[in-house]
């Protein structure tokens, strides 16, 4: 399982320091891209498909991560036994928990939760940051700030 120590090693890094495939345009949203490089996810559309083929592939899209989680649910209902998971934030209407699907709306974001902290790629700051869940909940204004957990694929 990923640890806080491992994630702290990414703090302050830009996507150019993480992705070797050149998919590093600062105007793109790299939240799922960061998560996937850290956790080794390479399903769906990847940076190797869209960039160069030099380094490991990483999934680029949030809506392709969400259905791969073994279980998903509202953040407030996260089982106490879940110490590490993915954390998603978007509007509630963009998520179908029963079908485990999320539509590709622009305002959606994902990070990695481990033992009370969330590591994610801040596209505004262009680097990996660490936040408490209460801070992460302000990533988007209401109503696009509903949080969901997804157990690690």
């Amino acid at each position: 399982m990923i640890t806080q120590q491992q994630l702290n090693g990414y703090l302050g890094k830009t996507i150019s320091q993480i992705c070797q495939n050149g998919y590093t345009n600062a105007h793109d949203n790299h939240c799922a891209h960061f998560v996937s490089h850290v956790l080794g996810y390479h399903f769906g559309v990847t940076c190797r498909m869209m960039g160069k083929t030099i380094g490991p592939a990483a999934t680029l899209r949030v809506q392709e991560l969400f259905p791969r989680c073994h279980s998903v649910g509202a953040w407030s209902l996260r089982p106490a036994s879940v110490k590490a998971c993915l954390v998603f934030i978007t509007g509630a209407s963009n998520v179908n928990l029963g079908n485990r699907t999320m539509v590709n709306v622009p305002r959606k974001h994902v990070g990695i939760y481990v033992d009370g902290q969330i590591w994610h790629y801040s596209n505004a700051q262009q680097k990996v940051v660490k936040q408490l869940p209460a801070q992460f909940a302000q990533h988007y204004p209401s109503p696009d700030n509903r949080m969901f957990f997804g157990t690690l694929p």
């Binding site: 105007h27 899209r61 949030v62 988007y140």
Partner: protein, 164 residues
């Protein structure tokens, strides 16, 4: 929202309502490529200049609004609504998010020399709709190939680009 985006959105809305504008129309055709589903399309789309200009790329994307999202695995579930089935609906979904005059929105086009799956020379064209408002930052669009020999937009070459 930029003036360009307004125009493009209006044009896409127009095509989505059942009409279409192309540089030159020909008869319907069925196109297929290994590993991709056959696409019945009409009419063929041709660009006005070689290599294509930014205007040609936008025009070609608008004229290709009816291309199904099933054209590429990169377009699967790429629409902003689960019911989206075409490139036109896909692009319109993101254009609809570009309406605030207080936010930064723009259209980005790139044209690079390349070769088709069959080795034909041409231009690899990308149109990306972009938005930035703090952490609300994204770029979604399409990439397609324009054949040099006749300026034809190869419909089976469409892919959906974007991350996040």
């Amino acid at each position: 929202m930029t003036r360009l985006a307004v125009l493009a959105a209006a044009a896409l809305a127009f095509t989505a309502c059942g009409s279409r504008q192309t540089q030159s129309g020909t008869s319907s055709e069925t196109i297929s490529a290994p590993g991709r589903p056959a696409i019945t399309s009409s009419p063929a789309v041709h660009v006005a200049h070689q290599p294509p200009t930014a205007k040609d790329v936008i025009d070609a994307a608008i004229a290709s609004a009816d291309v199904p999202l099933s054209v590429s695995s990169t377009c699967a579930n790429a629409g902003t609504e689960a019911a989206d089935r075409t490139i036109g609906r896909y692009l319109a979904g993101f254009m609809a998010q570009m309406q605030s005059p207080e936010k930064k929105n723009w259209i980005e086009t790139t044209i690079e020399p390349g070769k088709s799956d069959k080795g034909e020379p041409g231009s690899l064209c990308t149109l990306t709709l972009r938005h930035e408002d703090g952490d609300d930052r994204w770029g979604w669009g399409v990439r397609f190939f324009v054949r040099t020999s006749d300026g034809m937009v190869l419909q089976q070459s469409f892919t959906c680009v974007g991350a996040g």
